[in-house]
């Protein structure tokens, strides 16, 4: 089974080769892949019908619990058959549709990757591996939507769909990880045992919301639905395959799969039922005013996906059984309608339904397909679509205290869909002949055979529902509710659903006949732009871009002083924060007291006068207007500090300090000589800011030092060692000297060496420069 899934990836690699060998038959040759996959999955049918589950295991990354485990049960098999079956038709169709296109090779590469990943999504039992396939479908969808990449619109739509679906995928990943943490397993088939652990967990709302962001984005539910109509920029076979029959159903698939795992709660019902119902109603209404054949179908797809989501939200056995039939019916008729739309586009050069009519004269087979598929979509007896719609009504009626609400929106949407189906599948073929192109002729066999099969299958499976689709859909239902079963039949007797169906047809007919005034009416409903989620996407998108630019200018201005400013600010925040985080405000005061107490004991008039002079000198350095005076006053500070060293008995240190001070003042003055005059002074605001930073930085260090000197809790091992041994071992009375020349004599030697090497380097650089100057 692993090989079955991976075969698509392998074939994707050899597509260019096949086209190099023989361009004419390559398309047909490639369609063997989905056909053999279809047959491969079909061989599991007897086992599944016998109630078996087929599991295979392949350890991929066991340490991360990512394993390529596949499972075939009723539901998975149904989806796998739909994917490979429609895949076969689409492969064949595209071989003629894109025959003249240069880009037929990348098309087959992308679509093979897509089919493989889609099969992975529906048969994978490990949620993490499932996520990998899930994201791969988004990527291949991105590539296929951006197929006509010369157009800005295509690129926009491709990127939009990717950001929305891949982003949702990441949310799904987060929820899958949390589910895995709680349940301790990443295998879907084992998760339902942890149902009560999951729904009673405190994290349940976040799990569910993250999960639904993932599935809603993929299945184009409000408020993420906007990417799907835009995705119609893709070539028609792609729209038929990805954006109606398979990929967009991945979200729905996952929601049914997770119904026994996360479902059965109020929150589940309200989120799915609410968003699904609203999507169904809104999208079907928006569909009415579309004029582009593909957008018309896209909106109706969104509406159907809404219906499916709502049914999963309602969640009973009946609802799921209705959902499965509805989904099956939709895959058939929508696939067929998209493919006819492709034929119409291919032959007439337009998809605008206002410009085409009466095409049945030149496209008889296409007209037949269109009509049959549309009838199924409209829910006319005896097509499978009819059964699906009846079951939808039945479920909505039984949905408890809010059944009135659900049945109302279901009927309104069904009426809208009825009209939309007629607009897209029937009207273009009837009435007076009108077409912008003069060379309209029937499409080749490769393009018509598939849709014909779909349309006929829709009829046959409706007529003989009990003996054809009943078995597999029953098993699909049982993979969610093991003890449930349904019996499909065309006719359930005269009941309320049948009455509502009749009502749907009547109102729908009125809609169909009065298209113009209906569109005018819908156009009148003006909703401010900022209510549209597609606008939100644009706002967020553009907002992020402009935020990026603003903050780049702010944070990344290229001036080193601002960089240091931020570093210091964060230092103050972190170190000051962790210092005060110790709740040491009391002990800091205490430390102050201790150190003042200690200092006062030995303080005399020299100390105080020196301290005052240091303070005056540093303030003077701050306020001085010229460089020289500032340097001079800093020199005073340094000299006084060395005096302090002398008073406290460290003459060597004082010597060092004094010589360093003198040297730096001299260097400063030398540099000063070269510098331009000082004209601009910083503004008051800048000065205040600098003052605050300097004060904060300085006081943190002061506090640390006071703290250390007051409590002195540093580890004393080393200082004791030096104090005890420097005279005995080192034979010196000055500990510092002994340390420098004795205990770490090698280091000192190394330092001296480094310094002399540096001096040699500087000397040679200076000489080089001199020579250069002479030249």
């Amino acid at each position: 089974m692993l090989i079955a899934v991976l075969s698509g990836f392998i074939v994707a690699c050899i597509v260019p080769l096949i086209f190099k060998l023989n361009r004419k038959v390559a398309g047909a040759l490639l369609s063997i892949l989905p056909l053999s996959l279809f047959i491969f999955y079909l061989q599991f049918l007897p086992n599944v019908l016998a109630g078996e589950k087929i599991l295979t295991t392949f350890y991929w990354i066991p340490s991360l619990k990512i394993n390529l485990n596949f499972m075939i049960d009723g539901l998975n098999l149904l989806f796998a058959l739909i994917i490979s079956g429609i895949g076969f038709v689409v492969y064949l169709y595209a071989s003629a549709y894109l025959a003249k296109s240069e880009k037929i090779v990348p098309f087959y590469i992308y679509i093979s990757i897509f089919m493989a990943s889609m099969l992975g999504v529906v048969t994978c039992n490990n949620t993490l591996a499932l996520f990998v396939f899930w994201e791969l479908t988004s990527i291949s969808s991105f590539l296929l939507i951006g197929f006509n990449h010369e157009q800005e619109r295509s690129r926009y739509a491709a990127l939009q769909s990717l950001l929305v679906t891949a982003g949702g995928g990441l949310a799904l990943l987060a929820s899958v990880i949390i589910i895995g943490q709680i349940a301790g397993t990443y295998e879907i088939s084992q998760m339902s045992a942890f149902h009560s652990n999951l729904i009673n967990n405190a994290l349940y709302p976040s799990i569910l919301i993250l999960f639904l962001i993932g599935t809603f984005t993929k299945s184009a539910q409000f408020p993420f639905h906007f990417w799907l109509p835009n995705a119609m920029e893709a070539p028609t076979p792609v729209s038929a395959y990805l954006h109606s029959a398979t990929m967009v159903k991945a979200g729905v698939f996952l929601m049914i799969k997770f119904l026994p795992i996360l479902g059965g709660t109020e929150l589940w019902m309200w989120l799915l039922g609410g968003f699904g119902g609203w999507t169904m109603l809104m999208a079907s209404t928006m569909a009415l005013k579309q004029t582009d054949l593909k957008r018309l179908l896209a909106y109706s797809t969104v509406s159907v996906l809404g219906t499916l989501t709502m049914l999963i939200g309602l969640g009973g056995e009946k609802a799921i059984s209705a959902m499965i039939i509805y989904l099956f019916a939709h895959s058939l008729y929508k696939g067929a309608l998209f493919l006819t739309a492709g034929i119409i586009d291919h032959e007439t050069g337009t998809r605008d339904i206002r410009n085409i009519s009466g095409l049945r004269k030149y496209l008889p087979i296409t007209a037949l397909i269109g009509v049959l598929a549309a009838l199924s979509g409209m829910g006319i007896i005896p097509f499978i679509g009819f059964i699906g719609k009846e079951m939808l009504y039945e479920t909505a009626l039984l949905s408890g205290q809010y059944s009135t609400l659900f049945i109302t929106i279901s009927v309104i949407s069904a009426v809208n869909i009825f009209a939309v189906m007629a607009y897209s599948g029937i009207l273009p073929f009837f009435g007076e002949y009108k077409s912008p192109s003069e060379h309209v002729h029937e499409a080749p066999f490769q393009m018509t055979s598939g849709p014909v099969a779909f349309a006929l299958l829709g009829l046959v499976s409706g007529l003989f529902a009990g003996s054809t689709v009943d078995g597999l859909t029953n098993k699909a239902l049982q993979s969610i509710f093991p003890s449930a079963s349904h019996h499909l039949a065309l006719f359930h007797g005269f009941n309320l659903p049948l009455l509502l169906s009749a009502l749907t047809i009547v109102v729908g007919l009125i809609f169909v006949l009065n298209r113009k005034s209906l569109v005018e009416f819908i156009e009148k409903i003006r909703i401010p732009e900022y209510f549209f989620p597609s606008k939100w996407y644009d706002y967020i998108f553009n907002g992020t871009l402009s935020f990026a630019e603003i903050q780049t200018k702010f944070l990344q201005n290229g001036h080193l002083r601002y960089y240091i400013f931020t570093i210091l600010a964060l230092f103050i925040l972190l170190v000051g924060g962790s210092f005060f985080g110790f709740n040491t405000s009391g002990s800091i005061l205490n430390a102050f007291a201790i150190s003042i107490e200690r200092s006062i004991a030995g303080i005399d008039i020299y100390d105080i006068s020196m301290l005052i002079t240091v303070l005056i000198a540093s303030v003077f350095a701050l306020l001085s207007q010229g460089r020289l005076s500032a340097i001079a006053s800093m020199g005073i500070v340094g000299a006084l500090i060395s005096l302090i060293y002398i008073i406290y008995g460290a003459p060597d240190l004082a010597m060092t300090q004094l010589s360093i001070e003198t040297l730096s003042v001299i260097l400063f003055v030398l540099v000063l000589y070269k510098l331009p005059r000082f004209f601009t002074y910083s503004k008051l605001k800048t000065r205040i800011r600098d003052l605050v930073i300097a004060l904060a930085f300085g006081s943190i260090f002061t506090m640390i030092i006071i703290f250390v000197s007051a409590y002195g809790k540093f580890d004393t091992g080393l200082s004791e060692y030096f104090a005890q041994t420097s005279y005995l071992i080192g034979h010196g009375k000055n500990i510092v000297n002994v340390i420098l020349v004795d205990f770490r004599g090698f280091d000192t030697m190394g330092e001296i060496t480094v310094l002399s090497i540096a001096a040699v380097g500087v000397y040679s650089l200076l000489r080089l420069r001199k020579q250069g100057g002479e030249q």
Partner: protein, 495 residues
């Protein structure tokens, strides 16, 4: 004794060898005259031998011998010989090797090839390996400084190019500043525990024989210093300027191997101090610190990725994205668990290969004055330069964290450990910022694949030896994506 010396010599062979040979190479530079290719080959040979020996020690599990070593006659216990160190040896070695291979033709094109380039890269690598092998805070600091100082020089390697010199100066000034913090923090940790050896520090902390305030202040300062080295927010501001100004191959090297080395230093601090201290009675301060780190990591990811959106220059975009990746790796440190360190290490390994590869491509496409770096110059690349375009797809998709490339598993592992450690919000921030990053990585792909070429890149030729760099890094990116478990299992086993 002699036995012990031999044992330690063979255990430490990679680091001893590369350090000795690095110094030898500098001397060699002085006597080889104008012949540069000898130095090039010599540097490659040194690195290959280092990689192979470290790889062999890993493969044969010879590092277990370190446990039998009673005394360390050579290093006096300052060098650690554990499996993790060898993994990083291999990573650093490969990064340096790939850089040197790609650098020669790049430098030739820029008409600025000097021999010291190769010895500097080798010396920087030995600095990194010193970090990987450090059993002592001081040695870690020396390793970091050794690496940084060579980086300052390498960043300003194109000394006739103003941007390169500016990059070096900025890097040096701010880097020196950060080293000050680092050293001060190390001093405080010493003050708190009375030792610099990691093992003794953790023993003292476990025994509650330390000063908590100094320890916390010390860790905070060390984190500030290391955050600068990995370019985490708000110490990231130098990074884009430096990566943009430095020679492109060097940007690739210092934004990958340099970052991985600093991440390893963070892992050392986490493993030996944070992880132990959190189990003592005063854990709440460590937890606060962990939360602060989490905020920094979140801000790093967001700022890096959001700023990268606004870039129109590919090199600068990669520079910002490298800031963001530091944020992802920090998540592993925030988690403060063996899983988190393994995650950060895995991410670092993956990141090294994908980022060096993309910088090598940028280096190949720029002309001799360092121009032709804009997105628009890359349009239609798939037609004019199909090999490079295909390689770029691998690197960009992996950087964006799209399965099944290695970058995805790195991110996944990191996210999982963060959730395990109770940082769900951090993971969500990570997810949002990954989504943002998808935008700008794919934007470049759209330029390469979906737009027609507007102007030709005339000045450059197909990669010669650099093609090898590209192939190796792409292969590693793909292989670590398809078979990540080998490295992950190894990291977990060695924890």
């Amino acid at each position: 004794m002699a036995n012990e010396i031999i044992k330690e010599l063979s255990l430490g062979f990679p680091i001893f060898f590369i350090s000795a040979m690095g110094i030898l190479l500098v001397i060699f530079d002085a006597i080889t005259g104008k012949n540069k290719i000898i130095n090039y080959i010599f540097a490659i040979a040194i690195l290959s031998i280092t990689i192979c020996s470290a790889g062999w020690i890993l493969f044969s599990q010879y590092y277990n011998e370190a446990n039998n070593l009673v005394i360390h006659p050579i290093s006096m216990g300052m060098l650690a010989y554990n499996g993790y160190a060898y993994i990083f040896d291999v990573i650093f070695g490969i990064a340096a090797l790939l850089t040197i291979i790609a650098a020669r033709e790049y430098n030739e094109r820029a008409e600025f090839e000097y021999k010291e380039f190769y010895s500097l890269v080798v010396l920087a690598t030995s600095g990194m390996m010193m970090i990987a092998h450090s059993a002592d805070l001081l040695l870690m600091f020396i390793g970091i400084e050794f690496m940084s100082i060579t980086f300052y020089v390498l960043a300003g390697y194109f000394r006739k190019r103003v941007t390169s010199v500016e990059a070096a100066l900025k890097y040096f000034l701010l880097g020196a500043f950060a080293s000050g913090f680092l050293l001060y923090g190390i001093a405080l940790i010493y003050g708190a525990t009375g030792t610099l050896t990691f093992q003794t520090i953790s023993q003292k902390i476990t025994a509650q024989d330390y000063n908590n305030l100094y320890l916390i202040l010390g860790i905070t300062l060390v984190f500030i210093g290391l955050s600068f080295k990995i370019a985490a927010f708000p110490f990231h501001q130098w990074a884009p300027d430096v990566y943009h100004g430095a020679p492109t191959v060097i940007s690739g090297f210092l934004s990958t191997a340099g970052k991985a080395a600093a991440i390893f230093a963070l892992i050392l601090i986490g493993k030996n101090i944070m992880f132990v201290a959190i189990r003592t009675l005063d854990s709440n301060h460590i937890i606060t610190l962990q939360n602060i780190l989490a905020v920094l990591s979140a801000a790093t990811m967001l700022v890096g990725n959001i700023t990268a959106i606004a870039q129109n220059n590919v090199k600068r975009m990669l520079a910002y994205s490298s800031v963001a990746h530091a944020g992802y790796m920090l998540m592993g440190i925030v988690a403060n668990t063996p899983d988190g360190w393994a995650g950060a290490s895995f991410y670092a390994a993956v990141y090294v290969f994908m980022q060096i590869g993309s910088f090598a491509i940028v280096a190949n496409l720029e002309d001799k004055d360092g121009e032709y770096l804009d997105f628009s110059h890359y349009s239609g690349l798939y037609k004019t330069r199909p090999f490079i375009a295909a390689m770029m797809v691998v690197f960009l998709l992996s950087l964006a964290g799209i399965p099944p490339f290695a970058g995805f598993f790195g991110k996944y592992y990191i996210f999982k450990t963060a959730i395990d450690a109770g940082y769900l919000w951090l993971t969500i921030v990570g997810i949002v910022s990954s989504l943002i990053s998808v935008y700008f990585y794919l934007r470049l792909l759209i330029y390469i694949y979906f737009r027609e070429a507007t102007e030709q890149i005339l000045d450059t030729s197909e990669p010669r030896a650099a093609g090898f760099t590209l192939l190796i890094s792409a292969a590693l990116t793909v292989l670590l994506g398809i078979f990540p478990s080998y490295l992950i299992e190894l990291l977990l086993y060695l924890r």
